[in-house]
Amino acid sequence: MTTQTIAGRDVTVDEEGFLADPAQWDDEVATAIARDAGIDPMTDRHWQVVRYMRDTYLSTGSAPTIRSLGKASGVPVKELYQLFPKGPAKLAARIAGIPKPRGCI
């Protein structure tokens, strides 16, 4: 864990840049993390996924998988890959300020 300054705020992140404390997150932190990952600007579709991801994590304690995202976020899996290249679940989780999604074991 290290402390980083993102969008002018001191936030605690793990080795891969995931926020340790979701409470340190806001829209500006999200926008800054996204920009750093090459996503600029954050469109409405990006926000739809990021907010769904964050709400799911905060209410259930675990981040949705790509497949759950594709079924429930309103954004199909193919589009998820266009919005968040390479690993949508991981990248969207990082932008959403929640821990890195792990598999189920």
Partner: protein
């Protein structure tokens, strides 16, 4: 009046629940009805061995009713839906089963049709799964004829039943083709959406190391979007490709279809959300969930269903007698990981503690953890008898507890984690 307990699914979790609950209540205290669509209880760990001719389909199936003790009503029928408000279950033939407590134990189903092309041309010709009896048998016909080329073992997405089984398949395939003198003409690749061979770091290193030793290529972070059986290609969502001559795939899983037809019962994948510690569903206080049917961040595995059922049965008793539920389950799982050449690993872990090296059960247990041994392989074989004769009847197995026992495990020294140091770049 007797309380009515309805258990949906007579697999590992449902059978253990039924037998444990039957012993806890006299017949005039509670009736127990268990529903399943057929009377074939499949010993699922045996599926891994069928393609290699090490187990026969007939040898790993027994009648469901024979695993239930006296005094349990066994109803055979397809479940149409559950009405959690009216507290009844409707079967496809119109039969209605009212309940005071419902236990959902209907497991997970394979959904190969959810992946583009998977059930298209090539399905059951050069594209197989060993995750059901029919698929494992069909693959058993294809392996002896596979002379040369690239065998790809691919996991499409989590969650899957027995997350180590596809690794075991790759290890056994390596052994099988070596034994038949064909290994030098056959490449084996293991394709996973995870970023390593396994999720937890210590086990991922051990299992990844085994893949390397056995000359099995590891392809990570590959999210299969399409299977092209005719062209022999797996295509990922980010447009990477892996070619194959023979594909063994673990399709995506979902909950039982009736869950989706039952308003308010399941999540988007038809799994039933539950509280991990108590196994009470988040749907209604009188609905409990065990095993693969549960939407919980734990492995979908027989050991989990078994441990959950022990905790859940106690909590159903507490619920019916008006006592507070016990927050007792910790995500404990253990499994033998067959590594080929008559050896196996054993892993034992829960949500907090990843699989670690050591001994099992307890400090002086005979079985080495996270290390290959002949004894673990024999343990895996012996477990089948224990499954039918001790686990399903709901007897306690000496030394095996539903929650994780840290005795015997080598716990790594904690790494120091400075959290208040000045700004640093993350690595």
């Amino acid at each position: 009046m007797a309380q009515r307990i309805a258990i949906l699914g007579a697999g590992t979790g449902g059978t253990v629940m039924a037998n444990r609950l039957r012993r806890r209540f006299a017949p005039d205290e509670a009736s127990i009805t268990i529903v399943d669509r057929d009377d074939s209880h499949l010993y699922q760990p045996g599926l891994l061995f069928v393609p290699f001719g090490l187990a026969t389909p007939d040898g790993i199936v027994r009648p469901r009713h024979a695993q239930l003790i006296d005094g349990i009503d066994h109803v055979q029928g397809e479940i149409d839906r559950v009405d959690v408000e009216a507290q009844d279950v409707t079967l496809a033939d119109g039969t209605r089963i009212g309940y005071d407590v419902l236990v959902v134990a209907t497991g997970a189903v394979l959904l190969p049709e959810e992946t583009d092309g998977l059930t298209g041309p090539g399905w059951k010709e050069n594209v197989f799964t060993f995750y059901d009896l029919e698929g494992a048998s069909a693959l058993g016909g294809a392996l002896p004829a596979f002379e040369k080329g690239r065998l790809v073992v691919a996991v499409v997405d989590q969650p899957i039943k027995c997350p180590v089984a596809p690794l075991e398949f790759a290890f056994l395939a390596d052994w099988y083709f070596r034994r038949n003198g064909r290994r030098d003409r056959i490449d084996i690749s293991y394709v996973t959406p995870l970023d390593a061979a396994f999720t937890k770091p210590v086990a991922a290193d051990a299992l990844g190391g085994l893949l390397e030793t056995k000359g099995i290529e590891l392809v990570t972070e590959f999210n299969t979007g399409e299977v092209d059986g005719r062209g022999g290609r797996l295509v990922s969502y980010d447009e990477r490709e892996v070619g194959f001559d023979l594909l063994v795939v673990v399709p995506v899983h979902g909950g039982a279809p009736y869950v989706g037809r039952s308003p308010g019962l399941g999540d988007e994948l038809d799994f039933v959300p539950a509280d991990l510690g108590t196994l009470q569903s988040k749907v209604k206080p009188n609905v409990f969930v065990v095993g693969d049917a549960a939407g919980l961040p734990v492995s979908k595995a027989g050991s989990v269903a078994h441990f959950e059922a022990e905790v859940c049965a106690d909590n159903v008793v507490r619920h019916l007698t008006g006592e507070p539920l016990e927050d007792a389950y910790d995500g404990h799982a253990n499994c033998f990981v067959e590594t080929g050449h008559g050896k196996a690993l054993l892993i034992d872990f829960n949500l907090e503690t990843e699989p670690l090296p050591g001994r099992y059960p307890g400090r002086f247990g005979p079985l080495p953890l996270l290390a290959e041994s002949r004894l673990n392989h024999l343990g895996k074989l012996a477990f089948e008898r224990m499954y039918w004769h001790a686990l399903l009847p709901g007897r306690s197995i000496p030394g095996i507890t539903p929650t994780l026992d840290l005795a015997g495990k080598r716990i790594p020294a904690p790494t120091t984690t400075p959290t208040t140091t000045p700004t640093e770049e993350a690595g």
